[in-house]
């Protein structure tokens, strides 16, 4: 472990964050907030620059340093990102600012602000920017860090991509990350153009395009996507779904291998569950409310896809929908999007592995001597990876339970606490009951906001990457050097 190298890279990250803040400065001119913005950027950029220039370059980092950089880097960027909320005075407390920033960078989309339209545009842009930057970070995380560490069987995210091996961070992985960023930027630009064409203002189009591709959920309106036309909502459904797909598949499709989607077992699971869950929600709405209109179908599809892809936009207050749909949506909150996407959650690929493994165990009851192989599509999954995934499931359940306990202890009711904890861990945004799509998180109080911020980071970084920072072994020299 070479702490200097870690400090250096985090310094670079902070300088980049400060540079991103400068994009909001032109909007702050008319608001009289230029001072606040510049001081936030100067503070973050200054600290970053010092860390960058004061440390000598070592050249290359090993896996252990990689983990520490990811864990500390996200925490540092989240804290830095909270400064504009504080320095411009929009956030009531430090905890609220940290929550809003964590919610942004982890692409969650939960907010403490009851009314969005009164926020200054520079802050609105910053919220969308944090989503979009967070989305980029997640792509790198999914390509480079998680498979390298084998976190929860994350090798499965790129099972079919040649060249991603667990023995180095550079140079192939850097190339891969750049290609995937290219896809991300391209899709964002296409969506922005579509929004413009469908009548959004350039400012709204840019904000929502960034928010959608990052599977974020921050909007420029209190009513979220309900404030826009049905056509815009349908386009958003498609792009939310796409943002929840492994970006490697998009890259392959864009380079002419259009069958890549259909060949991927995880994609088939994700598509099947999206379609069937939307249909079930629509059916439940029809039966319970007698509403079988196209509008009802749009709401069912939009909110289901929004939850499944872990985006968190809403067009209706699904916290008031029939109970059965709420339970279904809670299930989707847990499963989340595909591995290697910008979405969060347990990940479809892991859910598929758990389901296949369980099916095999049931088969063993019928055939006690059967050798059951867990498969993803037709590819066998090594039992070691299955165990990784099961351990990850345990981690998810335990963390969720702990989060729920903490939130109920801090005064939330059970449904609010459960759904808020799950929503934060899976980086969705809205929950149910008091934190439903029509409500916000501002009323929960500072301690609860900090608990939720921690849950967002834990879920986003897939637990291990963050928890490893608390292992004493990480900080010792032994075994740390290449």
């Amino acid at each position: 472990m070479n702490p200097l190298e870690v400090i250096r890279v985090i310094g670079v990250l902070l300088v980049a964050t400060a540079a991103a803040m400068l994009a909001s400065v032109p909007f702050a001119v008319g608001e009289g907030l230029v001072g606040g913005w510049l001081s936030a950027a100067a503070l973050v950029g200054g600290v970053g620059a010092v860390a960058w220039w004061a440390t000598p370059p070592v050249g290359g980092i090993n896996a252990r340093e990689g983990v520490v950089i990811v864990g500390l880097g996200w925490v540092a960027v989240v804290l830095a990102g909270s400064l504009p909320f504080l320095f411009t005075g929009v956030a009531p407390t430090v905890a609220a600012a940290v929550f809003e920033s964590a919610s942004g960078f982890t692409t969650t989309g939960a907010t403490v602000f009851p009314v969005i339209e009164t926020l200054p545009p520079s802050i609105l842009l910053w919220r969308s920017m944090t989503h979009w930057i967070g989305g980029m970070g997640i792509i790198v995380l999914g390509v480079a860090i998680l498979p390298l560490l084998g976190v929860g069987g994350a090798q499965l995210f790129h099972a079919e991509v040649p060249g991603i091996t667990a023995d180095r961070l550079a140079p192939r992985i850097a190339t891969t990350a750049r290609l995937l960023w290219g896809v991300y930027v391209l899709l964002t630009a296409v969506l922005g153009a579509l929004y413009l064409a469908l009548g959004m203002t350039p400012f709204d189009a840019a904000n929502h395009a960034m928010s959608t591709l990052a599977t974020g959920g921050f909007s420029t309106r209190t009513a979220s996507m309900a404030a826009f036309s049905p056509a815009i909502q349908w386009v958003t459904v498609v792009f939310m779904f796409a943002a929840g797909v492994n970006f490697t598949l998009h890259y392959r499709v864009l380079t002419g291998r259009w069958r890549a989607w259909f060949r991927d077992a995880e994609w088939r699971w994700y598509t099947a569950s999206t379609v069937s869950a939307s249909a079930l929600v629509f059916a439940a709405l029809w039966v319970e409310q007698g509403n079988g209109s196209l509008e009802s179908l749009r709401h069912a599809a939009f909110n289901t896809v929004s939850i499944h892809s872990t985006t968190g936009f809403a067009t209706a207050d699904f916290a008031r929908w029939p109970s059965v749909t709420q339970v279904l949506l809670l299930g989707l909150m847990f499963v989340g999007a595909m591995g290697g996407s910008t979405g969060g959650g347990f990940k479809v690929v892991r859910a598929a592995v758990v389901a296949e493994h369980t099916r095999g165990e049931v088969r063993k009851v019928l055939h006690p001597r059967a050798i059951v192989v867990t498969r993803l599509g037709r590819t066998p999954v090594r039992s070691e990876i299955v165990l990784n995934v099961l351990a990850f499931l345990g981690m998810y359940v335990v963390t969720h339970a702990a989060g729920t306990v903490a939130l109920t202890a801090l005064g939330s009711d059970l449904v609010t606490a459960m759904s808020a904890a799950l929503s934060a861990m899976s980086s969705i945004g809205p929950g149910l009951a008091d934190v439903g799509p029509a409500a916000n998180y501002g009323h929960l109080g500072d301690p609860a906001l900090l608990v939720l911020s921690a849950l967002m980071l834990l879920g986003r970084l897939e637990f291990y990457t963050l928890l490893v920072l608390f292992l004493p072994g990480v900080w010792t020299r032994a075994g740390g050097r290449r």
Partner: protein, 448 residues
């Protein structure tokens, strides 16, 4: 013709035996001197100690004059290198035995014609193919397919109450006039004869019938069987044969269960075969077989490496009620024994491999189609040329030796199952069923 056989193992020995009996000059090359002593004392062949992969050894074995090089050691790589080491020239056919399933993958680099190999022979796969053919018709002990599947030779046991039982063949034939069916051999008490119209068929006889594809149900009916294809199959043992057969079965949508004794091998097979249920257990564990419903199986195939285990497992399966039982036996002495024990069919990897190899050893106009395992009888395909004495004569008068019979005539795209009043024309291919002693005389009747 000079034939060089590299590898004096089971396959090499058996092929050397067959080729030597057919008057070929056979040189057997192997690294094991003791094995060569055994070969030399039992067969009329020359032996040479050394590695077949070495060009100088091949040269001493007479590769310059050889017409056929068979690399049949148990190591794939040695066989491949042997073929590469031999010169490529017209007139020399180089055959390599290759068992590794990876080399048989759809887009494997290794294909006939590459790496100096003209032909690839895979004994395990040949055996699996043979077992698969048997499963196509659960009553048959032998199935040989020729003329692209238009005609088959079936080995059938005459069951109790069969319509053909206790009647002379001529009387049976009178009722079946116009059908493309012909009984070419009858096996009784370990002896095989070519029947005449006067031959009376008895219950328990084993008859070999050549039938056009559409007449197969009738052939089964006449011998007291019903036409059934296996749907549920249980395989015992974790051999390479198991892999190939299970792969064929799952490709054709059959329910397949494989019982594998070795845990690691079971795991490996379970990973390779995605639609086969692989169980880890002892193949002679009666409780396990019953738990997995061996009695309800259409077929049970014993494919372990041990003959005795295969025979016991097969008896258990047969006793429990499995409809068709196929047993792998390595020792050729056990092949007739298996039938006497009441097992439906016995298959042997070395015989399958030898049969497959011999199929490619053309001698002039002769091509072997198959060698039957129980009695060494051969099915030959002979090209009819202008110089042949049989041309234009009625088959009954063409002078075929006693141990041989024309089972089918392939004429262009059609196939005729002949009677004594048919004639052969130039350009035909005659499918002849011949007992071992009749092979040479028949062959002489069809000069190139």
């Amino acid at each position: 013709m000079r034939v060089i056989i590299v590898g004096a193992g089971e396959v090499g020995y058996h092929v050397a035996d067959r080729l030597a009996k057919e008057q070929h000059d056979v040189v057997v090359v192997d690294v094991a001197a003791a094995r060569l002593d055994y070969v030399e004392s039992h067969l009329d062949v020359a032996v040479l100690e050394g590695s077949g992969a070495s060009p100088s050894v091949l040269e001493r074995a007479g590769i310059k004059e050889a017409g056929l090089l068979l690399a049949v050691t148990s190591v794939d790589e040695v066989n491949l290198v042997t073929c590469m080491s031999a010169p490529s020239r017209p007139g020399l056919v180089k055959v390599a035995r290759v068992s590794n399933p990876d080399f048989y993958a759809e887009r494997a680099a290794l294909q006939p014609g590459t790496f100096g190999v003209d032909l690839l022979i895979n004994p395990e796969r040949e055996l699996a193919l043979e077992a698969f053919r048997l499963l196509q018709s659960t009553a048959a002990s032998d199935v040989v397919v020729f003329a692209g599947g238009a005609v088959q030779l079936l080995g059938l046991r005459v069951a109790d109450g069969a319509p053909v039982a206790n009647r002379p063949l001529a009387a049976v034939g009178a009722g079946e006039r116009g059908r493309q069916l012909l009984t070419v051999a009858v096996e009784r008490d370990g002896r095989t004869i070519i029947p005449t119209g006067a031959t009376v068929i008895e219950v328990g006889d084993h008859v070999y019938v050549i039938a056009a594809a559409r007449e197969i149900p009738r052939a089964l009916e006449l011998t007291g069987h019903t036409h059934e294809k296996a749907q549920r199959v249980m395989l015992a043992g974790g051999s390479i044969e198991t892999f190939y057969l299970a792969q064929l079965l799952q490709q054709h949508g059959l329910d397949t269960v494989a019982i594998v004794e070795d845990r690691e091998r079971a795991q490996e097979l379970a990973e390779q075969l995605d639609r086969t249920l692989v169980l880890n257990g002892n193949v002679t564990d009666i409780e396990l077989l019953e738990l997995e419903g061996v009695g309800g199986m259409d077929a049970f195939v014993a494919l372990t490496d041990y003959d005795e285990t295969n025979i016991i497992a097969s008896l258990v399966a047969k006793h429990a009620g499995a409809k068709q039982v196929i047993t792998l036996v390595n020792k050729s002495d056990y092949v007739p024994l298996a039938r006497r024990l009441g097992l439906d069919a016995a298959v042997s990897p070395r015989l399958s491999a030898a049969s497959a190899l011999l199929r490619y050893v053309r001698r002039g106009s002769v091509q072997r189609v198959a060698t039957l395992q129980a009695n060494d009888a051969e099915v030959l395909s002979l090209a009819v040329t202008a110089g042949s004495p049989v041309v234009g004569r009625l088959l009954a008068e063409a002078g075929f030796p006693e141990g041989a019979i024309v089972g089918a005539i392939v004429r262009g795209h059609s196939v005729v199952v002949p009677t004594g009043r048919d004639t052969l024309r130039v350009g035909d291919a005659a499918i002849v069923f011949a007992l071992p002693e009749a092979v040479a005389p028949v062959t002489r009747m069809f000069p190139t």
